[in-house]
Symmetry: C2
């Protein structure tokens, strides 16, 4: 294979009770990339559409992730890359991760998959480091593996993939406001009460169980976040109203995607997801804030060839 066109999915991280460990992969929204084998070593970004991002490899998330992988593989040839961004930066649904995940999966595919998907995660994390200043797998893990991913720990990195119950849909509201990552980090408590922590890990345990047993109602009962949401929701206008409307219209649960500003609602079936989307639109139309709402299944595939 000399060339590949891939879809690089958006993702939801910090999934309520799974703050900092649990994410999911969307299939309805994502970037596209075209990667071409080149006789010239290294990685060159030849074109970017949809966003004002640096073409210089070492200043670009996909560039850095791709170079980390190439450095590891030590190839006699290289690649040219076109990036077509669809996911807005700063939306809270893993824009940079889609790029970081896409390039490493794409190169690996062209080469006939010398590495497993899990083995690709650390290289994508190099791209995330450029974007956020920290090594984390919250979004690159679901983007690469698909489904739900649990980052069990970082020393060493261990990610567990769990396929999604088939009827799970996600409704996403993206209010087009800027939430500074530094601000949303600053409000996180350094310490939490043992009581809250126990409540959170009881819910996370229950959520993981619900994924394996496809118990939608249990998933809903577990979708609470006692840690980040109470602090971070203040950056998202009308968060409480959106959540109330989502739950009133049948969503299993609702929370902040990543560190915001996007809000996700998990729903059983596309009809409920649409109803939730329609009613969230009504709420947000009254705020005067520009926004987009969309619906997606959870993708069990992660980055895919298109």
């Amino acid at each position: 294979m000399n060339q590949i066109k891939i879809f690089c999915p958006a993702t939801v991280a910090n999934l309520s009770c799974g703050f900092d460990v649990l994410g999911l992969c969307l299939e309805g929204i994502g970037d596209e990339m075209i990667i071409r084998k080149s006789e010239q070593k290294g990685l060159r970004i030849t074109k970017i559409t949809g966003a004002d991002l640096p073409l210089e490899t070492k200043k670009n998330v996909a560039g850095v992730a791709g170079m980390a992988l190439l450095h590891h593989l030590d190839l006699a040839f290289g690649f040219d890359l076109e990036i077509h961004k669809k996911i807005k930066a700063g939306s809270g649904i893993g824009s940079s991760s889609a790029s970081a995940a896409g390039i490493v999966v794409g190169i690996n595919e062209i080469l006939g998959n010398p590495l497993s998907r899990k083995e690709l995660i650390p290289f994508a994390m190099e791209g995330e480091f450029l974007a956020s200043g920290s090594y984390h797998a919250d979004n690159v893990a679901p983007a690469i593996l698909g489904g739900f991913t649990l980052v069990r720990g970082y020393n060493p990195l261990e990610v567990i993939k769990i396929n999604s119950p088939k009827e799970l849909f996600v409704t996403i509201l993206h209010p087009q406001i800027e939430v500074k990552t530094s601000a949303s980090r600053k409000v996180l408590p350094k310490e939490i009460s043992l009581k809250s922590a126990i409540s959170q890990w009881g819910n996370l345990g229950g959520f993981i169980s619900g994924l394996y047993t496809e118990d939608y109602s249990l998933l809903g009962r577990c979708l609470h976040d006692e840690v980040a949401e109470p602090e971070r929701k203040k950056f998202i206008p009308n968060f409480d109203e959106v959540k109330t409307v989502a739950l009133e219209n049948g969503a299993l649960g609702c929370g902040i995607s990543g560190s915001g500003p996007s809000i996700f609602a998990l729903c059983k079936g596309v009809k409920i997801a649409e109803k939730v989307a329609n009613n969230i639109r009504k709420v947000y139309s009254e705020t005067g804030i520009e926004f987009t709402v969309f619906i997606s299944k959870v993708s069990d595939s992660g980055v895919i060839k298109i």
Copy 2:
């Protein structure tokens, strides 16, 4: 049915990363009870062997749990109860819970099971309240349901049962020392760092996943407790040596059972469990402290008719 003889299993609660939420049911050790239907309303304890416990119903854990159930059922008859204790009080493997769980399951069985096992848990918790001054399901849930149990939350009570991977064995060391519950509670931190909490819930999520996928090695990697063990181990002489020996001899993980003093080691297969038991015995023989060591499978049945 007019009479039943039952086995009331010992249990391990506070299972490392599952502090306050995760427990398991043993099959190798437990009390026995004989429950007889009587024309006289109420519950009378006619005999107790193996422990110096009150015969007065309202001062006895089994008595209080049984009466809570009888009050709910509003029967025209009653029961007589014989208790044969084998689990030592204060051992940390759910002695009081075995009694509380046994009586409610036993009465329910005699009546042809009008309530589900899960519905019985709150009545057993009344007995636990007498024993410990708090309503908790840590031990009564696994004793009643068997397998592994996750107490997702208390408002309302929700317990999830997960069957045990078939090759799981538990080695238990019971050092015969007294650890005051009040002391072991006092050392628990009121607050924990967000970092520790995330690490703990990553491990709990991984452990739950490992139970469903029967991934023994994953179970082992998740068996860490950053919260209670570092504080509570100081009450258990030579805890660190026992843990080291257990892990060196192949245990998947090792931690404090309940609030101690018993120590559990989770092992894949009976041979490893025996090897761990033998080597723990060697360590503890040198302490001058009286102790018992035993091995058990995880029981998926909970309280059973014998």
